[in-house]
């Protein structure tokens, strides 16, 4: 965690230096980014927010706390199927009260509870113009509003509403090329707490629930040059940030007293997952052998802000998924090239 914080400070400083010569609001932006990242980690709070996509609206209740054992977070869906998700350090525990079911999953060791600023953040200004908009009020909190407008049509715009006092991100809009909001997260209620509300994180109440371990089998990281694939026409600013072999088949959920290792050894890692990012938007490229199944994606698909495009290249199924415009995933999928071995 301290590594992450050091990295955060280092990157934030670089961003500050970069921006200070260009934008008059660099102080605010630097402050915003730094505090936005840290606020989530260090504060105790409870609130309700909405997540709106093109065709759906979800309301969720969040409780976050830090105590001597680490970081806790509880997320509860207030509509649809009753569900609670707890995150405790590296564990994600999903509770389905209606089914009396509890699933446990361990997150990637390298993945902290809170995301870190991207390495290529200093390049953001090349692909997004930044402007500060008029202050606003969200869930009774005064916010500063920053607009990141894409300089081309290969990425969405982002608009942030950040609590001026705490640095918490209270609202985030994704804006498409037609200036329409394609996804929105917004707090409707938020209270900062002086102490961790222990009652919220009491898991003993679920002791009688059926428990399942749903860990993914361990994956093997791959060096980019070993991936054997590249995007022919990669939109400017996107760079390869991850290249990993994963499993295309879901292992069955097992009871928590069984070992996952035995299972994972039997399964071949058969899915190449490459991630490209411009520092803000991320695009996944999945490549797997074409087994002739008809139900894999061919052409365009869309779910709210997320677009996907499927294509077959040299006997492999290529699926590109990301919170970017359709044009971006289509271009990437259609220009995938298998490198000679």
């Amino acid at each position: 965690m301290s590594f992450c914080r050091n990295k955060l400070v280092k990157i934030s400083t670089a961003l500050f230096i970069f921006l200070s010569g260009t934008y008059s609001f660099a102080d605010d932006l630097f402050d915003m980014l730094k505090r936005m990242s840290e606020a989530d980690q260090n504060k105790n709070y409870q609130g309700t927010f909405i997540l709106r996509k093109a065709d759906s609206l979800s309301t969720l209740r969040v409780t976050h706390a830090v105590d001597s054992n680490g970081e806790w977070e509880s997320l509860e869906s207030l509509n649809g199927e009753s569900r609670k998700v707890f995150r405790f350090n590296d564990r994600v525990i999903s509770v389905f009260p209606d089914r009396k079911l509890l699933t446990i999953r361990h997150t990637d060791e390298k993945q902290s509870l809170h995301q870190q600023l991207p390495d290529n953040i200093d390049q953001l200004a090349q692909f997004y113009s930044m402007e500060r908009l008029d202050d606003d009020r969200i869930a009774k909190h005064q916010t500063l509003v920053v607009n990141l407008k894409p300089r081309d049509q290969y990425r969405y715009g982002y608009r942030y509403w950040v609590d001026k006092t705490s640095g918490m991100l209270l609202r985030c809009d994704l804006i498409d090329e037609d200036n329409m909001v394609v996804e929105q997260m917004m707090f409707t209620e938020l209270d900062y707490l002086s102490a961790a509300p222990a009652q919220t994180f009491d898991l003993k109440q679920f002791e009688q629930f059926k428990q399942q371990l749903v860990d993914e089998p361990k994956v093997s990281a791959q060096r980019p040059e070993e991936a054997g694939w590249k995007v022919g026409h990669l939109p400017k600013g996107f760079v390869l940030t991850q290249s990993t072999m994963r499993y295309s088949q879901q292992p069955p959920a097992i009871s928590s007293n069984q070992l996952t290792d035995a299972l994972s050894k039997k399964l071949p890692a058969d899915l190449l997952h490459m991630v490209y990012s411009d520092g803000l938007a991320s695009v996944s490229v999945f490549i797997e052998t074409d087994h002739g199944e008809e139900n894999h994606l061919q052409g365009e698909a869309s779910m709210g802000a997320m677009n996907a495009y499927g294509n077959v290249v040299d006997g492999y199924v290529v699926t590109v998924v990301g919170e970017v415009p359709a044009k971006t995933v289509q271009q990437m999928a259609q220009t995938m090239v298998k490198l000679p071995e």
Binding site: L8, D40, S56, G299
Partner: protein
């Protein structure tokens, strides 16, 4: 028809819940204030959805279009010219002129609203080629094409492997600039599966 009943029908029309056989008879008996009611309902619907989704309205215009097309094929005398001029010569409300101010974002929705207004001014027994009015709409054809494209994308989306989406949400978006959004997306996506 009582006011409340009419409002229910307008609401159903905008929600694409009115049977296509009813669309014509309802349109023919509409009142001038129906347009205002429809517009208000449209705005409420948009506000509740939080946006103007073109795709939501396209099906309405398509249903209207198809119903009218059927009707006109039965009613139109051979050789009747299919022109806007013909319509305006009758001294009735000009559909084209009505549409122009509302062209843009809510074009397809407007088609449904326009239908309600337009036919209130027409003689219900007139054999005017009403379908041609729709054919004249500058917006109708592109909107129908958009609807077809949207339908194809929606059908395609069913073939998108949810495991790939989950892996993308879980592993690809790990930067702090989106706050908790990637995680919430993942939870929300699983919830909606």
């Amino acid at each position: 028809m009582s006011t409340n009943k009419r409002r229910e029908k307008i609401s159903a029309l905008l929600d694409d819940e009115i049977h296509r056989d009813e669309i014509m008879s309802f349109s023919l008996s509409s009142e001038p204030e129906d347009a205002e009611v429809a517009r208000r309902y449209q705005m409420i619907g948009d506000t509740m959805r939080g946006e103007m989704s073109e795709a939501c309205f396209v099906d309405v215009s398509k249903a209207v279009h198809e119903a009218l097309l059927k009707e006109s094929l039965a009613a139109r005398p051979h050789g009747t010219p299919a022109s806007r001029k013909n319509n305006s010569n009758t001294g009735k409300f000009s559909l084209y002129g009505w549409l122009q101010p509302v062209a843009g974002m809510a074009m397809a929705a407007s088609v449904a609203v326009v239908m309600v207004v337009t036919f209130s001014g027409q003689d219900s027994t007139s054999p005017l080629p009403v379908a041609n009015n729709i054919d004249q709409l500058p917006a109708a054809a592109p909107m129908l094409r958009l609807a077809e494209e949207r339908k194809a994308i929606d059908e395609n989306t069913r073939n998108l492997d949810p495991r790939l989406v989950n892996q993308h949400l879980e592993f690809a978006t790990q930067d702090a600039l989106q706050g908790r959004l990637p995680y919430v997306r993942a939870v929300s996506y699983q919830k909606n599966r």
